[in-house]
Amino acid sequence: MNIIETENLYYKYDDGSYALSDVSIGFEKGKITTILGANGAGKSTLFLNLNGILKPESGTVKFMGKSIKYTRSEIKNLRRSVGIVFQDPDDQLFSASVLQDVSFGAMNMKLPEDEVMRRVNDALERTGIARLKDNPTHALSFGQKKRAAIAGILVMKPEVIILDEPTAGLDPMGVSSLMHLLKDICQNEGTAIIMSTHDIDVVPIYSDYIYVLDRGRLLTSGTSSEVFKNPDILREHNLRLPRISHLLEILNKCDNLETDFSKATIGGAREEILNLIRSK
């Protein structure tokens, strides 16, 4: 069952253009769902709608099957359950102290202080910035700020975590350790993870489900093999295949080899190649 979903969601910015039109999508617990889309496709706008920060023009956002009514108390509950990590960490990190910033969400939940401290330390440890906790926020590098922003949401232990381009600006090891962390959280705690990314090569490795947006509309959706089966439609909308799929596609189309280019992970590609060799 979907923990959070939208039905025929429309959102219009003040200037009158529709940033989202007729978006109906859902997100499951314990799954990582990725939103793909070119710049300006509406990913960030969608996320702000899911968290109740923006109110849709029409259509509904449903949390646990119930549509949200935008009263103060409902919004408060929604935000407690749906955490969002913003695209630019400077938007989120308001405190000059890393420790205090990370504690903010948990303190707002009125948890006892030692529980807050425990969660803060745990989150700092998991995001790999424990040794920076006494540093001032402005002395962190971009990637470190990004991790602090993520830690600030982890302490709230929300049922849904939304991450707007969490991998942007992280070093390669940082990307894989973050993705491992997210996988771990969603498997062990049953959290629904929703993320957007332009790092298309990590998408097939970690995503359970993918939605592709284009200029505010849902273009296509499915598991990674379903979405990458149609490279042309992606290319028409400023996206591309993961490199590995692209290689398999070239082998298929240019070299007339029997490869399945919806396989986008190293494991999948290896299988395809071994199959080719064995069938010779």
């Binding site: 920060i53 913003f86 938007d91 000059a96």
Partner: protein, 259 residues
């Protein structure tokens, strides 16, 4: 900004801020109240010793910072030292324009020197606090004081976003410079006005975005954050007490002896 960098490398940074605050305030008070050459010099040396030898803040930076108020101190002292009179009886050196004598008197000189040393003593107390105690620790302290929370919260947000704004403005400046925006006087004016208006718009949007982000983490009008507990540092307390007592004793003795 340089102070901010130095303070995070100070070895005295982890001492509970309240201890440092009380110590520096006590020394400041004694230095000002004692009104004595010896105590002023003693205070300045103690503080510089703590900052440089114990805190390991590079002497070069500290001395550089000490020169910041030097111009004001010297100018102020000069004003005190020079006296104007009808005769040059009490003056060591003087010149006159018509019947008015301008000169340096003995009393004036001593007073000026005393004021100058007192200023340095007091300034070094303030530098001790600002070079060993990060702003975030001071904010934590202030939150426990009687000052209304919203004032401190505002100060904290300003402190945080000064750095963001600074960052943005230097990035815009570099971007303009890279495209020859500061090549001639005319383009410089244009670029600067562009920079200013851009910063204004950005700060506006930044405020909006930050508010949104805070709301999404359950902001309820109060900035609730954890207050880290600091362990008291016994050696520092002992040292501080001994030095404050010594300064006090020196102040009383010198007060009697008049030096």
């Amino acid at each position: 900004m340089i102070i901010d960098k130095l303070v995070y490398n100070s070895k005295l940074r982890n001492i509970a801020p309240i201890e440092k605050l009380l110590f520096s305030m006590a020394m400041l008070f004694i230095c000002i109240a004692a009104n004595s050459f010896t105590v002023s010099v003693l205070t300045a040396f103690t503080m510089l010793f703590l900052i440089i030898c114990i805190g390991k803040t590079p002497a070069k930076n500290v001395l550089h910072l000490m020169t910041v108020p030097i111009v004001f101190v010297i100018m102020g002292a000069a004003a005190i030292a020079i006296s104007i009179g009808r005769s040059d009886g009490a003056m060591i050196a003087s010149f006159h324009i018509g019947g008015v004598y301008f000169g340096i008197g003995c009393d004036g000189l001593i007073l000026a020197l005393g004021t100058m040393l007192k200023c340095f003593g007091a300034v070094s107390c303030m530098y001790f606090l600002s070079l060993t105690t990060p702003m975030i620790d001071l904010f934590t302290l202030l939150r426990k004081s009687i000052i209304p929370n919203f004032i401190i919260e505002t100060a904290e947000l300003i402190y945080r976003y000064i750095f963001v704004l600074f960052d943005v403005s230097s990035r815009i400046h570099t971007a303009q410079d890279a495209r020859l925006g500061y090549d001639t006087l005319k383009t410089s004016y244009r670029s600067t006005s562009c920079l200013a208006s851009n910063l204004f718009i950005r700060s506006f949007r930044q405020a909006e975005k930050t508010y949104t982000a805070m709301e999404s983490r359950g902001y309820d009008g109060n900035i609730n954050v954890i207050m880290p507990k600091r362990n008291h540092c016994a050696p520092f307390i002992i040292f501080a007490v001994i030095f404050t007592a010594a300064a006090l004793a020196a102040a009383i003795l010198c007060g009697r002896a008049g030096i």
